[in-house]
Amino acid sequence: MNPLDSKKDYQDFVNKKSPNSPIIKNCFNAFWVGGLICSIGQIIMSICKSRGISQEISGTIVSIILIALSAFLTGLNIFNKIGKFAGAGSLVPITGFANSIVSPAMEYKSEGYIMGVGGKMFTVAGPVLVFGISTSIIVGIIYLIFNTQSITLV
């Protein structure tokens, strides 16, 4: 059989030839780094609560500190190394979102502050925002419809 006979044959042939990502190693690293980031968040949360700050405000403080930390490490060229090692472990928590906004801002600074930083800042995070906000609007409308007919969802 010649793999160049059809596109599908060639794709199968290429899949056989291409090495896969080391998935067990990647998962393990993502698990412990992601866990570590969440633990840091929990520690900040506990400190805040022990000082008498309410649950809600403590949560906000955790987000602010983790975002600031991640943005700072992105600027120092350290976060991309953590990300390369940990993958989803550092990408899924709020640290990854901060990184996805700071990194294009840095990259496009050379094109000026308005059209560069301002215009390109959300190139990576943009889809998350668009679909995140769209989904919340749709959920809100559904909730409104059911709520006015006195059906409680929550």
Binding site: K7, Y10, V14, K17, N77, N80, G83, G87, S103, V124
Partner: protein, 257 residues
């Protein structure tokens, strides 16, 4: 110059590559070919404010180096073919604007340099005494244009390749001591439907094989005629694929890069 077979040009008096020059970035400087480059940079910016400006500077300095090494005055070089990976070929057109040589911008992605060599050779044999060809790329500017920001913490799959930071230039002359360009086989676009942008070797390998087969058929040569058959960098995966596909086509060669 005449056409033989389907896709091949044969030169009556083969143009000579009289001089070459190359400048590369930090990663290439640590590679196995480091000793063959004329200059190795240890900073991607090379004192410039953006990667695009730095790429322009690299191609400009490479071209100047090739001309000064060749010993010809830049007035005696009649045409320049150059290209790069960026939109509207800005690195080469901005980099070479001070050159004062009629300029033909080219884009062939990974094949830009060979495209330049082919056109230079044809131009040299038909009407010019000396021509110049050059190509450049920059890892950071290419990542910025085609992929993600450098600081983004994502993972690269094992099949992904790395864009070269650097430039190469060659002066082609009507007469000289060689190496000579005796034949040109221009390849077709062969799309086998690979959609993975991180597996370029697999996407390019079928075209490389197609061109190779066509060249051998047009020239009536056997692969053993050559001491080495060299392709552009297909990476580990692409090279492996090309070697196996070639074996299936019963092409045995000595060295393939």
């Amino acid at each position: 110059m005449k056409k033989i077979g389907k896709q091949t040009i044969k030169f009556d008096c083969p143009p000579s590559i009289s001089e070459v020059a190359s400048i590369v970035g930090p990663k290439e400087s640590k590679g196995p070919l480091a000793k063959y480059f004329d200059e190795c940079l240890d900073d991607e910016f090379w004192g410039e404010k953006s990667w695009e400006k730095s790429e322009s500077k690299i191609i400009k300095e490479t071209v100047n180096m090739a001309i000064s090494k060749s010993g010809f005055s830049s007035n005696s070089i009649e045409y320049c073919f150059a290209g790069d990976l960026l939109n509207q070929c800005i690195s080469s057109s901005f980099g070479l604007r001070g050159l004062n040589i009629p300029f033909l911008g080219i884009f062939g992605a990974c094949s830009t340099f060979v495209e330049g060599l082919s056109l230079s050779a044809i131009m040299t044999e038909s009407c010019a005494e000396h021509t110049l060809c050059a190509a450049s790329s920059h890892f950071c500017s290419a990542e910025k244009q085609f992929r993600f920001p450098l600081e983004l913490g994502n993972q690269r799959p094992p099949t992904s390749q790395w864009t070269v930071t650097g430039a190469g230039a060659a002066v082609i002359s009507k007469s000289g001591n060689g190496p000579y360009i005796t034949h040109i086989t221009t390849g077709k676009i062969v799309d086998m439907g690979i959609k993975d942008a991180n597996n370029m070797g697999a996407a390019m390998a079928p075209a490389a094989l197609d061109t190779l087969i066509c060249h051998l058929k047009d020239t009536g040569r056997n692969p053993n005629y050559y001491d080495a058959i060299i392709t552009g960098d297909l990476g580990y995966v692409g090279k492996d694929i090309l070697t196996e596909l070639a074996q299936k086509e019963r092409i045995q060669y000595k060295i393939c890069l």
